[in-house]
Symmetry: C2
Subunit: 328 residues, 2 copies
């Protein structure tokens, strides 16, 4: 395989000149440039990515850290990110953190060593001090991050209010919320939204919150207990769509008919909502657009077209009515 | 940041000696080794991954090419692969090919340039000539590959016979197969398995095959047409679980009750089977184990512990009976 030295020799110029031509920086006489390009073609020379990384301290690679790619929310995000990267000649390193700070920090350390050009992280455990020393751009996707890192997310609080108000509007009298894990900002925001909407409708005494998890089986168990102890519950706002599937199963197992006895609404808008029977009503986030925007913003930051302060964006969410809720 | 030169200067040895210590190769006097290690510690020197990649032509990175991470079969595979890599200090580059040969070849070219140490590919379009020139190991996952590349897959043909025989056993008289896309080896094998099992049960004249796709909506349409034109169909073997969801929807939309009027069985064993109502019977592949084994095999090949010829493995599949089929 031809090296940059071979090209320099063939073109009778210095290695530095070849490098200037390859990187389009610094002055190169037009005739010299043509000679170099001819040598490149004659020798079928391909600049070596790794050597370029070393020189530029850039690898045209970004790291995406998600809790678990098996959670159906993340493949859609990852796909959007990879589509943007691919179009811009970047590659994607995928990391599963299981929401563990230790694993996240390890990934960041390893990828820094590999000169990744930036990070997109979905994290609830990293803090400002974990990332402020990084000299590459970083985007917090889907979650709030207490640092001056740009955040690409959607309106979780407003969406939760919308879901709760919708259940009130269709006539539910006793609305419970099965919330996602504590300390995950999206789960917290959705829980606050539920609470505030209940309060502003004079239903504070009717609030009923159970702690679920992003696991269908665990949420099924939690919801069954809630339904058995509270036979008057006629509406449930689940913390996300995966949890809403657990709620549907709990309803089935406790003899409640959805939507007649119990209205159920989820959050996220993943394709799973259309797989269940009855199909799930939900507050849909524009998941693909979120991943797309995060990747575009990151590349703009990497390539110097954006300032950090310009990066954050909060997407609107949309109520989608399906069979699991029904206006009475 | 300290460089290898700084370490050499501090330890009063040559750069080559430091390199020998770092890479544990070649003879280094024990006292010298200690001096180098002390210098490394004193200067807080971290060997730069990119420089090491250039030197070793290895990046401790592997490329995983899947058709689309959004297809729920692939996140579980990807997660297993990443778990093994993470444990062995490798990172994962994720690529979505959309089953397009052009995109696959491009990824391979780009990743070769980045000195990835190996590839795991799920492909139906690449051929021997596309990969035989690669000087890094490659594993074909889930699909047959006409080259001396190791193949990690499961017994698709046998599984399809098992699914078909099961439908016959529970009393189905007219069994249709909604097959996956043509030229995808798993879809072909499952179709052949269905056909051969029908034949060996003297039901060749009853075979009925429709061309579906790995898209729920398209499969719903195809199946609706099949059910309307063939009111006597009382069992359907779907090409995979995603397609089986489409079959359930088609049944619902044409007024067929599953499993009473129509028994439905899928293939793969993804978690979706437990989300639908009725829950789906299926032929389960050990998806996580397949990804795990592919990654382990690849690392063994990369690190020289395996010969290519040792790599292939075919996993057994398992019939899982759920609500969508019922013994009559």
């Amino acid at each position: 395989m031809a090296t940059i030295r071979d090209v320099a020799k063939e073109a009778e110029v210095s290695v530095a000149t070849v490098s200037r031509v390859l990187n389009s920086n610094g002055y190169v006489n037009e005739d010299t440039r043509k000679k170099v390009l001819a040598a490149i073609q004659a020798l079928n020379y391909t600049p070596n990515s790794v050597a370029r990384s070393l020189y530029k301290k850039s690898s045209k690679t970004i790291g995406l850290i998600v809790p678990d790619i098996k959670n159906p929310f993340f493949p859609e995000l990852a796909r959007a990110v990879e589509d943007v990267l691919n179009k811009n000649n970047y590659t994607l390193i995928l990391c599963n953190s299981d929401e563990k700070a230790g694993k996240e920090k390890e990934y960041i350390e390893v990828l820094k060593q590999k000169y990744v050009d930036g990070f997109i992280i979905v994290t609830s455990t990293l803090t400002a001090s974990d990332v402020d020393g990084l000299n590459v751009p970083i985007i917090s996707l889907d979650r709030i991050f207490e640092s001056n890192v740009p955040i690409i997310a959607s309106k979780n609080y407003e969406g939760a209010r919308k879901a709760t108000r919708y259940l009130i509007d269709i006539g539910c009298k006793k609305i419970a919320h099965i919330r996602g894990p504590l300390h995950i900002s999206t789960a917290d925001d959705r829980c606050f939204g539920y609470y505030d909407e209940m309060e502003s409708n004079g239903m504070l005494e009717e609030t009923l919150i159970a702690n679920g998890s992003y696991d269908i089986k665990k949420t099924t168990e939690v919801t069954k207990e809630l339904l058995l102890n509270n036979p008057d519950v006629d509406g449930i706002f689940a913390g996300n769509d995966v949890m809403a599937v657990g709620v549907l199963k709990a309803a089935e197992q406790t003899g409640r008919v959805v939507p007649d006895d119990l209205a159920v609404i989820g959050f996220d808008g993943i394709y799973l909502c259309e797989v269940t029977s009855p199909q799930l009503s939900t507050i849909a986030q524009p998941i693909y657009e979120m991943g797309y925007r995060a990747a575009e913003t990151l590349i703009n930051l990497i390539e110097g077209r954006f300032e950090k302060s310009q990066g954050s964006y909060s997407f609107d969410v949309q109520l989608i009515e399906r069979q699991s809720t029904k206006r009475k």
